[in-house]
Amino acid sequence: MIAEAGLAALWFAAALALLQLVLAAMGVRATRAPAEAGAQAPEDGARDSWTPAFAGERGVADQLLAAVRPVAVVQGALAVLAMGLLIALFLRSDMSVLLVAQNSHTAKPWLYKFAGAWGNHEGSMLLWVTILGAAGAAVALLEKRLPPATLIATLGAQAAIALGFYAFLLFSSNPFARLLPAPADGNGLNPLLQDPGLAFHPPTLYAGYVGLSVAFSFAVGAMVTRDVGPAFARAMRPWVLGAWIFLTLGITAGSYWAYYELGWGGWWFWDPVENASLMPWLAATALLHSVTVLATRDGLRAWTVMLAVVAFSMSMVGTFLVRSGVLTSVHAFALDPTRGEFILALLTLYIGGALALFALRVGTIRAGATFEPVSREGALVINNLLLSVILAVVLIGTLYPIVAAGMGVQLSVGAPFFDKTAGPIALALVAVMAAGPLIRWRRDRAGAVARRVAVPGIVTVAVLGIVLVAVPGIRVLPLLGLGFAAGLAVASVAPLWGRALGRTPLFTWGMVIAHLGIAVSLAGMACDSAFTKETLVAARVGEPHRVGPFSVTLEGIRPVVGDNWSALEAKLVARRGEGAPFVLRPQSRFFSAPPTVTSESAIATRLDGQLYTVLGQADDQGRWQLRLWWKPFVTLIWLGGALIALGGLLSLLGRLVREGRVARREEEA
């Protein structure tokens, strides 16, 4: 019955999404006539919020809004319920459900039964839709600042997206389909996914991915009611920040997961699926900054709306790439062309629709305030341009092999391409990022800015010089990475200089910490790329091998057994100089359902880096292949990612506190 209840919940949710869309359309119609009059009226200044022109219709809009809000909330709750029921089916190992039988196994640990609910195509799409519904419900519940007409249009856009993806689930990817007769055991989950990372990485990443739908809907809503201005930007900013925090965490977690699980010692592979998560992040990062320009200085109106559309479009492109089966990777569960066509159709519909609306309305989005080239907003424009350029490069590199395959040419685009193209632009971006917060809003003097960036500049040059002397033969990109990271670290804390730290607003702390996080992460990437030591040996028992400052000895191999796997486990004793020895136990695991061998690396974390060990195969002379890495400061990469997300969180809290205070003051006044 659980499966039927889940399916019913999905159908109800889809019906409510349709109702929500219809109500929203009525709301937009009811408020349109005065809105048009308002847009044509020769009033001056930014039409930030509810203008007198709307006042007569306020009653209708409020009434419809009162109807739309609960519909959106119930729709979201039903989607969450459906996801909960699917998880229940996985936890109970109900093999009469096709999805469970195909992707789970009775002998699997409970955590992977739980997280396995989204370790497959249908389940992960249900999770996607669930987060979409929940995001819509959250907007309906929490959004108080948007004018009613815009909020109605926003919820309508959210419903339109949800409707398409409910249709996708119900017509081509039903997660609740039955399988009769039910098999005893099930096929099991891809062992590469059987890791605690599965419980954390997909939900966080999806919360970010799909959270961007809110920015998209806000943009559509504001375009429909012609209401793009600072108030709109202030209302949208927390939602963008929230999605961006999750996206940052999801990417960071995914990177660390790939690092330790795949056993290749790499933390980013420029795999199309990774790029699919990076592209929305780049767009969201640009949006985050442009929305601040719009909120603070009423500039970049059309651009911000455009970016909001682009950011969620990138999420949908990513979903298409991953879920359509055009790529084969550990992420691509389905190889069914009809599903790919379905997602492609949805993608075309939503992106095309939003862009068409943009083209129609861009003329009515009046130009905002102009600004000086040497100003904070000027720096943010350059930030946005560079982020867009990186986005374009990554998009081209990711789509090119697919286009080429369509023309019968097989090729792959990998790290060499992205390093050569995105790398230099990213370094330029770092330079702008260092200077930006040191430039004043509105207008600043070039000489004064030059004095403020002098110290970070000198630090950069000094570090470049020291590294060049200390590490002869270092490659250009890691060298520049180290120098720029040092300069950025100094520059990013500079805005705190001379301030009373206790009275510095939280969002300033947020900016400082997020920018510092980029510097920390960049330093980690540069160190990993410049200083990693690798040793590949066929080791005999008792024979020590050197890697970096460590000596590693294979002490023995023994068989071990887990819940649903058996493994050969090496006992490695590592020692740094004369320090205390410690043990690492890398494994080569064999899973029976489905039959697969995986390498489980063993990693020892030290303050200054990680010792990473992988066990390979035995040869006929009784030697075992060992792959050992010493990766100095590699942990900084993910520490930086966590700092970036923390900065986002502080910023979000700071904005909410500040704007809550302003709103209270306005009410009192």
Binding site: A369, S388, Y400, S412, V413, I425, L536, T596, S599, D619
Partner: protein
């Protein structure tokens, strides 16, 4: 500067930036894209020397030879049309085995052999790199 002019300048700037990036990306693609070859392609069209490419096919039965250092192997990749000897130093993927699909990343040598710096094999019993599947589909003879 008037608002209209500033807008125009910004739009032009954005256009130039994105076009520049696209140009940069497309020119870099020419050099950096790793093209895919099957042994038969190489036999027919000649060796793509000095480029980082992918070679895909089946590992010929009985061809895997471990080298004395314990970490290098040599094997032969075939697509039923031609054969290419491959050398590789490193830990081979878990499901790398004879009579099974493989994609080797690396460079052709002037003697017609291939030095791989990375091997991609099947992830599990079901998964096969699409390029291997594609190459084998073309030659038919090795349809699994």
């Amino acid at each position: 500067m008037k608002a209209k002019h500033q807008r125009l300048v910004l739009v032009l700037l954005a256009l130039v930036a994105v076009l520049g990036a696209s140009g940069l990306a497309l020119s870099a693609l020419k050099d950096q894209a790793a093209f895919f070859y099957a042994p038969g392609d190489v036999a027919r069209d000649g060796l793509p020397l000095g480029k980082h490419v992918r070679l895909g096919g089946m590992v010929e039965k009985g061809s895997i030879a471990r080298q004395a250092d314990g970490v290098s192997i040599a094997f032969v990749v075939t697509d039923g049309v031609a054969k290419v000897p491959v050398r590789f130093r490193g830990v081979v993927p878990d499901l790398f085995k004879e009579d099974s699909g493989v994609v080797a990343e690396g460079q052709f040598q002037s003697d017609g052999s291939f030095v791989a710096d990375n091997l991609l094999a099947k992830h599990d019993e079901k998964y096969m790199p699409p390029q291997v599947a594609g190459a084998m589909h073309e030659t038919k003879s090795l349809e699994p």
